[in-house]
Symmetry: C2
């Protein structure tokens, strides 16, 4: 194992943050979770809940202590609003690294209403900025690892392999000379949520340039799967599984729909190509990022954190074959191209030793261990995707003919 | 004259917003100012004030009514915080256009402390986002004109003429083919303030793409001069003139320093090249932008709103020649290249009929009509630039040897 580090996990109660906290604790690091539990409050607001029976933070941490002997700290702090408390815990506990998951992360939720748009922008930008500001004010040399998204790239780069954050370009000078440059990849975000991640990139670029903050930005694909080695140890450690129209991501929604006999609902033609990664690989990638910080005077390090790409309708067919569920094609509530290709570089993580779990090998386990096991907990009324990108679009709800039961 | 329009001026109490409001009112448009007077409150906080004796909003508007017969409306609304009130006035008054000046606009102020950094990010991003969100929620087809800054481009584009917002690039495809594209110019902002303007651009790009909001973004150079045709009509209409270390921009500071016998204080070598525009041309450019809105399905229109570029030490010499003031070179409190070239395209405004006022013809008037006339109002202790970009830098204060009196 690497040197033991003191690590803050911002958003450590969430879908990616919780298994990451356990994995790094298992690896011997000293973990403190900071989370304002806003995601659980949004469950209340949406009257939707995790398919899996997630436990309160107190139970989660006591169970982990019981099983592993390791203590994980916890502070309930809103990092977008409570700057002074954030700064204080940083000054007191002096983390070597901060992993930043603490943002509103659902594109449909971010598009639901003006209130949701405004909450997402305000929460995400201030959360990220407060962390950067506090790192500089603390005077400590803290490595920041942030979770970004593949979605910032946009899905329209026909013919070009998406590089890891930076793009080689040529421009023509006044005298007609060609100049080669490397720039931050020009983003084309597809929702207010994704747009905040583009704005985060500018914050990182600036604080890295002005204050030499060491930053790793992980442009993550859609995470699928539920449990990791650690969360599987005891049902009280189970990770959250979102299946509702706002927070459920495409593959998990398909699995759940099939398990409860709801049509596997494809938005538009299903020709959209997306990038994926299993939750077990997410926690492993974050460990690798923590173990390989950039140098103090190095620019922001950007990794593409994904392992495979698939067209949405191929995923639907795959799930349908595994489960016998039927597929329904409905209007796309998002504003996006009907079809796109996606070729993504992910050499950086592979070069650091990532050995990915493929969809082919993991999908069936997910069907039996999660979707079927907890199907009785599902609220079918929460399955449709009701948020639309503009007022004149239709929600993604199958009609009777399309096989609603 | 063009068709009479209903226009909201957000930040209409400020240095650019006030003369713009008067000019457009003079042109026959129906103007409503929205401003939370935060700039006057920052005067209180910094214990600094405009060199010119600006009047309260009530006096300003009554004077204008008396002289021109035109009424200008006013609402004291914090557009970053009071979304519902903002939406309500938009729904009630149904403006054809909104001109958005309402941001914290001083780079040194934005770098002064963590509190100031956080205020600038929070105020500017939420102000811009709330306006966009309210335009969409209102369902009205409102043209948004925003004041951006030349500072987003960064000052290091050696050999390349800075285009108007968009950059032509070539990239290489997977198969080795060259692909030509036009992208949003990759920004390299030099302060937290400038960084918020880069973030604004992403908001504009997104709302234009998703909701077809018509947007003109004016990348403005440093504004110099004080009065316009309208603000000169009566001393009660006088525009603000900032000379303090935080809000005073370089040329106005030089003029004032010379007028009160303080050394003309150049940061670093003075080799920095900057873009300038006279306040009279600012109001004229904004009028042109209002008269030439982009079409409903057109991308964000970006203009470079500047008329000439100068090296800082050449400006210092110019002011020194006009006034006999002596020059002091001090440490640069900013983090920036010691020297840079700057070649900027501004064809769009020239093509629409802008006939710029040059520094050469206007500078002397500024010395006599403003700097000398109001020199007795200056507080000399507010002249030094005390904000530094990092903790280990020195403020820009001349020492005794450098000629402080
Ligand atoms: N899940 C995915 O498929 C996916 C894909 C790409 C990127 N990401 C990114 O990974 C990160 C984590 O995603 P997730 O799926 O675990 O989301 P999640 O919503 O399950 O977890 C986010 C956690 O952050 C907390 N949080 C939010 N705002 C906070 C604030 N102001 N102060 C304190 N805590 C706050 C929430 O309470 C929640 O526990 C996000 O930034 C997301 O954008 C996720
Ligand atoms: N002055 C320059 O040299 C210059 C150069 C380039 C760009 N700009 C841009 O032009 C715009 C105007 O600049 P200025 O010099 O007139 O600045 P200013 O500070 O004099 O005026 C800004 C006005 O906006 C108001 N305001 C700020 N936040 C607000 C909020 N949340 N709600 C309501 N009102 C708010 C302030 O009270 C003030 O009256 C700014 O966006 C600035 O970035 C200015």
């Amino acid at each position: 194992m690497n040197k033991k580090k003191k690590i803050f996990v911002m958003g450590g109660d969430g879908f990616c943050g919780w298994p990451t906290s356990l994995h790094l604790s298992q690896e011997g690091h000293d973990i403190t979770i900071i989370d304002n539990l806003s995601r659980r409050n949004i469950d209340n607001e949406l009257e939707a809940a995790s398919l899996t029976p997630i436990q309160p933070m107190g139970t989660r941490l006591a169970t982990w202590k019981e099983l592993s002997g390791q203590s994980i700290g916890f502070h309930n702090i809103d990092i977008a609003e409570e700057y002074e408390r954030l700064l204080q815990v940083i000054m007191e506990e002096k983390p070597d690294a901060i992993i930043h998951f603490a943002e509103q992360r659902a594109a449909p939720y971010s598009m639901k209403s003006p209130k949701n748009k405004r909450y997402t922008v305000n929460n995400n930008i201030n959360a990220t900025h407060n962390i950067l500001c506090a790192i500089v004010e603390s005077g400590l040399d803290i490595h920041l690892v942030h979770l970004g998204t593949m979605g910032v790239y946009g899905y329209g780069t026909a013919g070009m392999k998406i590089p890891e954050g930076y793009l080689d370009i040529e421009v023509t000078s006044e005298s007609g000379e060609r100049i080669e440059q490397q720039i931050l990849y020009p983003t084309n975000p597809g929702s207010i949520y994704h747009m905040t991640k583009s704005q985060d990139q500018l914050l990182f670029q600036y604080y890295n340039k002005n204050d030499n903050v060491r930053i790793t930005d992980l442009h993550q694909g859609i995470v699928w799967g539920t449990n990791t080695k650690e969360t599987k140890l005891d049902e009280r450690l189970v990770n959250r599984f979102d299946y509702d129209g706002d927070y459920g991501t495409v593959l998990n929604r398909f699995l759940m729909q099939a398990a409860v006999g709801y049509p596997i609902t494809v938005h538009g033609t299903g020709g959209q190509t997306r990038a994926f990664i299993h939750i077990q690989d997410t926690v492993r990638c974050i460990q690798l990022a923590i173990e390989h910080p950039p140098k103090r005077d190095e620019r922001v390090m950007i990794f593409n954190q994904m392992t495979e790409t698939h067209r949405v309708n191929n995923l639907a067919k795959l799930v349908s074959e595994l489960t016998g569920g039927e597929i329904a094609y409905v209007d796309n509530p998002r504003k996006e191209a009907a079809e796109n290709d996606l070729h993504v570089k992910n050499d950086l993580f592979l070069s650091k030793g990532l050995d990915p779990i493929t969809l082919e090998e993991g999908l069936l386990r997910e069907v039996t261990d999660i979707a079927k096991k907890y199907a009785h907990r599902a609220d079918h009324t929460k399955i449709p995707a009701t948020s639309t990108w503009t007022k004149d679009q239709q929600p993604g709800i199958p009609t009777a003919q399309e096989g609603i039961k």
